[in-house]
């Protein structure tokens, strides 16, 4: 195989790993609370600014900045749920989605107000590694591994804990849960906190690869939604697989054409998939 194409595919898989975390977070929140957080990518942006600020401005060690970012964004997820989503739980879905869209503007505007519109960089870069015939970016590889570890931890939690099992159960039948002593409102809070934590983790992995600016959410937010829908909203495994598929489409699209066209192709693929499998590629 053409080594450049191979490199594109490998990069696509690495990219998919980074997409996977926000996709898992969105799907978790949607599956449990039944609300799409339209501002999810902006939560990631807040996390990126958090790491950038603590590392470059406050002089914290990078690891400490990462560790602080997770609870900050998790807390933001909780706030979002308590202040915006919870009062709207019985409203039509459009109202809920729009309200989180309002939060998108708030976070974007807030970031502009505090940090301005400059691109902020951490300035850490690892040398590329040569694997066989191809070059792989060291930071991307580490981010990929970290994303897989994060996804694995989430899977373990959902599979083996009581709360995790209840989360998987509530996605299918929320009215019956109180009969087993489960308070749905608490499960919503847990899911929102985990959704925020995953956004925080994604922020840590992205901030070492990309410069952060107030509009960065718009650059990967829409694609994250597409992936979720492709995998089937609320379907964690489907979304996880679709993230890699989309990563490879974008990366090889960039190999054949250019970056923008690769996104056009990716979105077009999404629309075609929607027509072929309206409930997602991996719908049961």
């Amino acid at each position: 195989m053409d080594p450049f194409l191979l490199e594109a595919i490998v990069n696509g898989i690495l990219l998919g790993g980074v997409f996977a975390l926000p996709v898992l977070g969105l799907n978790l929140v949607f599956g449990v609370v039944d609300v799409v957080w339209l501002c999810y990518a902006e939560l990631v942006m807040v996390g990126m600014y958090c790491v950038w600020f603590l590392y470059t401005q406050a002089g914290w060690p990078l690891i400490a900045a990462f560790a602080a970012c997770l609870p900050v964004v998790a807390g933001l997820g909780l706030l979002l749920h308590q202040l915006v989503v919870r009062p709207l739980l019985s409203s039509p879905p459009i109202t809920q989605v729009l309200a989180t869209g309002g939060v998108l503007f708030i976070l974007q505007g807030g970031a502009m107000l505090i940090f301005g519109t400059d691109f902020r960089s951490l300035g850490v870069e690892m040398p590329p590694m040569e694997v066989g015939e191809i070059f792989v970016s060291g930071t991307k590889l580490i981010a990929f591994v970290a994303a897989l570890v994060g996804a694995g931890l989430l899977w373990t939690f959902l599979k083996f804990t009581y709360v995790g099992t209840a989360i998987r159960a509530i996605a299918r039948d929320r009215e019956v849960m109180p009969l087993m002593g489960v308070d749905p409102r608490r499960i919503y809070l847990v899911a929102s906190a985990i959704g925020g934590t995953l956004a925080g983790l994604a922020a840590c992995l992205l901030v070492v690869q990309l410069d952060v600016h107030p509009f960065i959410g718009l650059s990967f937010g829409p694609i994250t939604f597409m992936i979720c829908v492709m995998g089937g909203l609320g379907n964690m495994l489907g979304g996880f697989l679709a993230a890699f598929l989309m990563g490879v489409i974008i990366s090889t699209g960039g190999f054949w054409w250019n970056t923008e066209m690769s996104y056009v192709v990716a979105f077009a693929c999404f629309i075609v998939v929607m027509f072929a499998r309206p409930r997602g590629l991996f719908a049961r």
Binding site: Y162, A166, R168, R172, V176, L179, G181, D183
Partner: protein, 239 residues
């Protein structure tokens, strides 16, 4: 801790403008098995929903021992010993049998005894043990009913509320389910069972209430009701 009585007095309940229950009273003493029978739409399911807190009554009192059921949120009721096997079982079809049972043991007091309760349930339903890794949705109706009862038993309840356990099951399986109910109550558990299958249910309960159009129209021991000419003609096919 033994010995809470379930008692309902003057319960009125419904959905929106529709009133399903009119001044319903009912008592279940500890260790008793009581049935609520009546035709479709008589309010039987509504009655169980009131007891398990899924529906708040508009008037009347519902107590289990000293606890006022209307004052507690629904999810607090398993904690005081009330377990409800809902209509149509409502298993989580995409979770395995064991995971369904695990959700049943969600409350803190149940988590502590998860292993022993699992042994107990598997001892009672060996079939579930064989299929512990199977997805609940792929089992037969009878097996699913066992799983639903098992899930309710996981939290060590004092009273078990069963809503139409025989619905949609083959006659042979219905007999098995009622045999299980008898076994459960033989172990000292209080049972309140709602059924349309009057003939079968009168064989396993001590007493029963007859509900019609949201009102209790008759009550008595199983023997009394089984020999009551009105009940016989209305529910038991007249012989």
């Amino acid at each position: 801790m033994e010995g809470q009585t379930l008692s309902l007095e003057g319960i009125r309940a419904g959905y929106g403008d529709f009133q399903a229950l009119f001044d319903v009273g009912l008592k279940v003493a500890p260790g008793e098995a009581v049935g609520v029978v009546g035709p479709n739409g008589a309010g039987k399911t509504t009655l169980l929903r009131v007891i398990s807190g899924m529906l708040k009554p508009k008037a009347g009192t519902a107590r289990f021992g000293a606890a006022d059921l209307a004052a507690l949120p629904a999810h607090a009721l398993p904690g005081i010993g009330i377990a409800h096997v809902p209509e149509n079982r409502r298993l989580f079809p995409h979770l395995s049998v064991e995971e369904n049972l695990k959700v049943g043991a969600y409350i803190p007091s149940a988590r502590k005894h998860f292993a022993e309760r699992l042994d107990y349930v598997f001892g009672m339903f060996p079939r579930l043990k064989e299929r512990r890794r199977q997805l609940a949705g792929t089992m037969s109706g009878g097996e699913q009913q066992m799983c639903a009862i098992g899930r309710a038993l996981m939290c060590s309840p004092r009273i078990l509320l069963l809503d139409e356990p025989s619905a949609g099951l083959a006659p042979l399986v219905v007999a098995q389910v009622f045999a299980l109910v008898q076994r459960i109550r033989a172990e000292g558990l209080t049972v309140l069972i709602v059924e349309q299958n009057v003939a079968q249910v009168l064989r396993v309960v001590d007493r029963a209430y007859v509900l019609e159009a949201g009102r209790v129209v008759a009550e008595g021991t199983s023997a009394q009701l089984a020999s009551d000419p009105m009940i016989r003609s209305a529910f038991l096919g007249g012989h």
